[in-house]
């Protein structure tokens, strides 16, 4: 297979996915969790099957409007939990009272109702979470770039980091398209993929380094043939490794509770995107960048 010749087509596919993500974000908006938007997420254990309309009625009684209610529960069992997303009250006391009222109103029809979880994140905390999340990704990418630069050469580092950002962009795009909530576990998922997909890239780069038998950093000459051979030789490793990791994370997704699913799905997307990009695009992109530089130097 001619990886070098065809990497632009792979890039086109990615561009289309990312574009769809941007359109989806513009049309539907992004499903941002309370960690980043601020507000309160209230999970009520209803003690049995329930009607969403009853919960909405109870919310109205307590003076809570514009609060979407969703059914939730571990897969396989009946969905007996109501997840309510409320805007942040200015006053804590008022919010506590509202919560008590909701439970009281519901307990008439559902005697076993109780509060399972409360997640309340103020505006200050959420702004900080966003800041530290972006900081995490930027710093991690920067440090990885430097490490690859030291171990290989500058262009390989740039190619690797661009592809990492690509993987993150695909994760974000598909998460938006699938309407999955973006909360702080998403950041952990992104960082996991950054760490994991760089593995795939490095194994291939290592092959290029070995096959090229370069004398020093200045002697990195990446022919199309060298790139294609190296990608092909590491292909079965790339695929097998992804399969083993996918097995474990898919098991977690299938059996896990909602908060685990929210974390596992972006990882599954990222794993596939990372493998796709490192096989089809990263090494050819390195060759492309290094080739441009040589042409410039001539």
């Amino acid at each position: 297979m001619k990886f070098s010749r065809n990497f632009k087509y792979a890039a086109l596919v990615s561009a289309v996915i990312i574009l769809c993500g941007v359109i989806a974000a513009a049309v539907w908006g992004v499903n941002i969790g309370v960690d980043f938007s601020g507000g309160t997420l209230l999970t009520l254990d209803m003690g049995g099957p329930f009607d969403v309309a009853d919960v909405t009625a109870a919310l109205e009684k307590a003076g809570v409007t514009d609060a979407p209610v969703m059914k939730s529960g571990a897969s396989g069992s009946a969905q007996t939990q109501a997840v309510v997303r409320m805007k942040a009250f200015a006053d804590e006391e008022a919010e506590n009272e509202a919560r008590q009222k909701i439970v009281e109103a519901l307990s008439e029809k559902y005697p076993d109702v109780e509060i399972a979880t409360v997640d309340r994140v103020g505006a200050v905390a959420s702004a900080d979470l966003v800041k530290s999340a972006i900081l995490c990704v930027v710093i991690a990418c920067g440090l990885i770039l430097v490490y690859i630069w030291i171990r290989f050469e500058l262009w390989s580092g740039i190619a690797a980091v661009v592809m990492l950002l690509h993987d993150v962009a695909i994760m974000l795009a598909l998460t938006i398209i699938l309407r999955v909530q973006i909360n702080s576990p998403f950041i952990a998922a992104v960082l996991t993929i950054v760490g994991y997909s760089i593995n795939n890239t490095i194994v291939i780069f290592d092959r290029v380094r070995e096959n090229g038998k370069f004398k020093s950093k200045k002697h990195y000459v990446l022919t199309e043939e060298l790139v294609d051979t190296s990608v092909r030789e590491s292909l079965s490793r790339s695929v097998n490794t992804t399969i083993t990791t996918l097995i474990t994370i898919v098991a977690l997704y299938v059996l896990g509770v909602d908060s685990i699913k929210e974390f596992a799905l972006p990882i599954i997307i990222g794993l596939i995107a990372g493998t796709y990009s490192s096989i089809l695009m990263t090494a050819p992109f390195w060759g492309f960048l290094a080739g441009k530089r040589r042409a410039g130097a001539r």
């Binding site: 109780e114 530290s132 576990p185 950041i187 952990a188 960082l191 994991y196 990791t245």
Partner: protein, 424 residues
Amino acid sequence: MNKRTKSIVWLAVILAALCGFGFLALNGLTVGRVTIKPLPSAIKQGLDLTGGVSAVFEAVDKDDPNLQENLNAVMAVFRTRLDAEGYTEATVTQQGTSRVRIEIPINESQKVDDPSEITSYLVATAKVTFLDNDGNPLFEGKDMVDVGVAVNEANEYVVAFELNDTAAKTFADVTSEYVGTSKTISIKLDDEVISTAQVSSAITNGKGQITGGFDYESASRLANQIRSGVIPIDMTEIEVRSISATLGEGALANSITAGIIGVALVMIFMAVMYKLSGVVADIALAIYILLVFFALATVPGVQLTLPGIAGIVLAIGMAVDANVIIFERIREEVAAGRSMKTACKNGFHRAFSAILDSNVTTIIAAVVLLYFGSGTIQSFAVTLLIGIIASFITAVYISRGLLNLFINIADKPALYCRKGGKAA
């Protein structure tokens, strides 16, 4: 004893030891006075697994020159109040320069209806002031030396206290003056007057009570708050999370099942793809899992949370990665016509740089998370970090030794590699 027999014996010993450690880790052991706890119970679980409340409070005035001093006082007050309510396992930590984070594990027996009850109890300033008829302060909560809950003549719950000498004198003077007049003494809690009363007799023994329509719980909370002291600065609650214990248990059980199924499938996959080498990887994986749980139980400050479990399960997939890289290399060596022994040696040697570089980059990502993340993200980073280090040890060193033992016993390449592959 020839090399082959020796290797069989070694392998048997290693497998027996592995089973032994595995049994020990699951069941624990008591020999005489030495007790080894089963590993699962020694692992500290995060709030999302045990159930509980976590909250972050921030100082309102961040330009306060004595911020650190005041925060220390706040944390001490939080601590005392938590202990007084029986939450001795709760943790109070400072976050950044102006925040305090509390985490309170709550089991079924200490169940509360609403987490806000606890957080508002904690964060209340709880400044009690006794005022004279003109609204001037007579004495405050800090002048009370002995505070407790009592029931008064009217059968109401009250907070009874005893004053220090100075305050007792003031109280005696004022009450003597007010007896028989229409002048009143008021009690103010924070900014609210909770009761106002005329004086029926002079109080000279320094004992008094706070009335205000309390039930037992609210009276004992106020008593605890007064005992713990006043929160010196305004704190605002910026984040609260709570999870019920039943929900936590369910999440843990689900994740464990997922982990077991995932590991079993990975083991089968490896054995099918890499035959005996795959079996070696499976043994190494079992050792890896033991190592990770051992580290989780012993490294201080490590908490197992839901994202942490995800981190471990993910790291299992990654642990196998190094073995995949090595075995693919060995397959190439074998295809080039080398003996199994040489192929193994070369395979490990040539795979090393790729494994090292890829592990270092993942460690970079994990360390960044550990340093800049907070709460559950940090616990995910710790488990990931433990996972990477453990996998490096088992996949590179332990599996190499094991594979050599296997090769000493039987060295037909067909037993270790599937056919095909390009010659190296």
